[in-house]
């Protein structure tokens, strides 16, 4: 039996506002428990929410960036349920009238094809606090620092057909919110997390299967693993003649499994209704156009420009624009060494990215500046050093932060482009290897490489390869 996987994601992105969505408390992560919660966040009697305009602007920018309709009028609603980390007994969210509806994102898959994923809606809401069940003998502790942190919940259409597609879409949203500067994207701190709705159906079927909602997916890797695991579970059920139940399942990354949290029957009736403490959010066209004008260059626009401006492939352009920091770095390198945009792309995506990865360094904290890397590329393009030696130079630059010219000079790595000097070396090698010369001349073409190797060895790899080739051909 062939099965098709159907996935929709609900992504929660924490908006990068200074203060909370309905109070003046700071949103900074990692403070002592309950030090960043004021009376509004604590749900004290008599307090009232006041909407943070910055959060609204960020949501609007997101909507514009995904080509969605920004609602001229949207309404906050209360989602009612009891939990100790939800101080008011309701979460202020949006229900019937979200701020953003009907957009899409084009996602490039690994094979270079482009998949369009629909965005049903995106709405503003406040985060809850945290319940800490461990480390407190016999009791649960509540930290309300996170309570009231602004979130945008981005709900996709069930357009994805594999875990890989889901991850690619999630990464694209991650890229976008960071471009927009509306979310720091920090997944360890929970600033960007997602729930996945997963179902399967027979290949070719039109009707969706019964879905399970997977919660607690806070890394790209976990999204992929959890979905794959869940798909396997559902196929097993269906193929053994069972039925998938509609339920919420929690992903346990330690055991790489999902387990049931609550069934549909146990689901809360949230009793949504418009929050009478908050007025509807109403925009005029001028406000929306002002937000549109304030948008930065978006990832797709930037990638398209990289293709035309630098002659890169669409795939490379996509990779380089995955974060605006990487794209900016690349453009600074090219500005320094304008003749070689493709070489620059290879270096930025290759050795430079590998070095960042290896040392676990964020690009913003790189010791090696784009100007320095550009300086190295200049020495490659003006034949001062070969590409091979450049890697050696790069290692040193990466290690101690020095400039390419200093390293080349100090280590005497400058390429030999003096044909007299190279000829002299060739003459010595020919003289020292009469047998190889005779063999070569009698038709053993492969021995050409032997002479190149000997010459490189004698010059410490510094001989200009093209010049060496020409001269060798002549002499031999």
């Amino acid at each position: 039996m062939e099965w098709e996987t159907v996935i929709g994601l609900e992504i929660h992105a924490q908006l990068a506002t200074r203060t909370k969505i309905f109070s003046g408390s700071p949103t900074a992560y990692g403070a002592e428990p309950n030090t960043q919660a004021d009376l509004v966040d604590l749900g004290y009697p008599g307090v009232l929410p006041v909407l943070n305009g910055a959060a609204v602007r960020m949501a609007v920018q997101f909507g514009l960036a995904v080509g969605a309709k920004v609602a001229r009028r949207s309404v906050f609603a209360r989602k009612n349920y009891f939990y100790p980390d939800l101080p008011k007994g309701y979460q202020i969210s949006q229900y019937e009238l979200p701020i953003v509806a009907g957009g899409h994102l084009d996602v490039m898959l690994e094979d270079g094809s482009v998949k369009r994923v629909g965005i049903t809606r995106a709405h503003l809401e406040e985060d809850a606090g945290k319940s800490l069940h461990e480390g407190h003998a016999g009791v649960s502790a509540i930290d309300l620092n996170r309570a009231g942190t602004p979130l945008i919940e981005i709900v996709s259409e069930p357009d994805m057909r594999s875990a890989k597609e889901a991850v690619a879409y999630m990464k694209k949203v991650h890229t976008l919110v960071r471009y927009l500067g509306i979310c720091d994207g920090n997944m360890q701190e929970g600033s960007f997390r997602c729930d996945a709705n997963v179902s399967i159906r027979r290949k070719g079927a039109e009707k969706y299967g019964t879905r399970a909602e997977l919660k607690n997916l806070n890394s790209f890797r976990f999204v992929e693993k959890a979905i794959n695991h869940e798909v396997g579970r559902q196929i097993e059920i269906m193929e053994s003649g069972g039925q998938v139940k509609q339920e919420t399942r929690l992903y346990d990354s330690d055991r790489d499994e999902t387990r049931s949290m609550r069934s549909k029957e146990e689901a809360n009736d949230y009793r949504y209704f418009p929050d009478p403490d908050l007025l509807p959010v109403v925009f005029d066209d001028a406000f929306i156009e002002a937000q549109r004008a304030a948008l930065p260059e978006l990832p797709d626009q930037k990638a398209a420009r990289f293709v035309t401006q630098y002659g890169l492939s669409a795939y490379d352009a996509q990779l380089l624009t995955a974060s605006s920091e990487l794209a900016d770095y690349y453009e600074q390198v090219v500005a320094e060494a304008p003749a070689e945009p493709k070489l620059a792309a290879n270096w930025v995506m290759g050795d430079f990215s590998a070095a960042l990865n290896k040392d676990g360094i964020d690009i913003g904290k790189s010791r090696l500046t784009a100007v320095q890397l550009g300086g190295l590329l200049l020495r490659i393009s003006d034949d001062t050093i070969s590409g091979k030696l450049a890697k050696e130079v790069f290692e040193v630059m990466w290690a101690d932060g020095s400039n390419a010219d200093v390293v080349i000079e100090a280590r005497g790595l400058k390429q030999i482009t003096d044909s007299g000097a190279i000829e002299k070396v060739i003459d010595e090698i020919i003289a020292a290897n009469p047998k190889q010369l005779a063999d070569f001349r009698s038709g053993k073409d492969k021995l050409f490489g032997f002479f190149v190797g000997q010459a490189m060895k004698a010059t410490g790899g510094k001989a200009n390869p093209a010049l060496l080739n020409d001269l060798l051909k002549k002499k031999l």
Binding site: Y44, P45, G46, P87, G89, D277
Partner: protein
Amino acid sequence: MAAETLARLSAGLAARQYSSVELTREALSRIDRAQPQLNALVTVTAERALATAAVADRRLASGESGPLTGVPIIHKDIFCTSGVLTTCGSKMLSNFVSPYDATVVSRLGAAGMVMVGKANMDEFAMGSSNETSWFGPVHNPWDLTRVPGGSSGGSAAAVAARLAPLATATDTGGSIRQPAALCGVTGIKPTYGRVSRYGMIAFASSLDQAGVITVSAEDAALTLQAMAGFDARDSTSVDVEVPDYRASLDAPLTGLKVGILKEFFGAGLAPEVEGPVRETLAVLRKLGAVVREVSLPSLPLSVPTYYVVAPAECSSNLARFDGVRYGHRCENPKDLQDLYQRSRAEGFGAEVKRRIMTGTYVLSAGYYDAYYLKAQKVRALINADFIRAFGEVDLLLGPTTPTVAFGLGDKTSDPITMYLNDIYTIGANLAGLPAMSIPCGFAGGLPVGVQLIGPHFGEAKLLNAAHRFQQETDWHLRGPTGYATSFEPGAGPTSGRGEK
């Protein structure tokens, strides 16, 4: 007539006839004497009041005072008062000391008013008789066997007994006007959004509005002047300039178009109430007003509409009282569910529970459209009816309540009968309109109130009409037997003359 209005006491303070400390001592001693009979207060803040009064006296001496400086006031216990017990009439908050002041409290405090205590009230403002209070019922000073009305029963009884010249109050479905009527005092519920709700413990957020109970309309004007105005902490407060209410008090009523609310004079209105209410028309006509009948056909739907909207909002607003962060928590909860269930079962009274359950029901999946959504539509119709009426008349007039004060315990067994007590007051809340109740006579020795309803932000016109009416009558100056009506600090208790 030596009745002590806020305006008169303010003049006495300004003229240094007595000090704020003396005035405050007098209020505190009256409270001491009246508390056993009336139970009008939950908390008396004697020490703090005397300290505040001393500060007010220095302000008065240095000339940095306003008309409210140094005058004692009682705050309804629904307003958060920093460092002072704020119970909302509930066991749930019987241990809650607020860490902050409500905007109403801080504005009146900034104006120099001296809080002498917190007024008893129906639990979470849910009730029309003050019998749902965890702290016991308030007694009507005109007849101790009768209710003072509710939910601001403590505020109304306290002002009627002249324990203080004024008390703050709140009105969600009539909670200022109904007790004001039953206690023979003046009460104003301003336009929704006119006074900040910040720090006022929410019952039904879209209906709740803070106001004040006073002796006279002039006093209400003086107080509202300080209470009203935009507050950035309340998104539903409206940024509309506050007019000088006192300046327009004496404006002539010539040509004022007063609409008699036809729907308010049908079956159910006690004849002894209808009589005095109709007599107000003669006074208004004499003052130059033109009276005509107006019909608001959707108005009879007010009560059922209200009893969907208000419980729905209350079921959500009261979810925060869960025993986790403040307020009543049950002993030794065995798990989370137990903590919630017992804390709330023990902390809330029967009426509050009834409304939470009703509200939870009307918001439930499958019932939302039939109840909540429909109620909102009816609410829009009621609002449209009022708007249409105000195209024809300047003010609307009718009774505040169908009857005079009823006996304690008379209606506690039948919630519907109790709810119908608010039949004339709820419409103004649903439409967010300003409305007043002013004393207009007596029936069997018990006060009768007449209600004036104005267009949105029409407080000045309401106060003007009420003031002119009070210049022609003295119903508002009469006090119940056994309570002081004149103020002579140091002279000991004085016995007022009652209406018999």
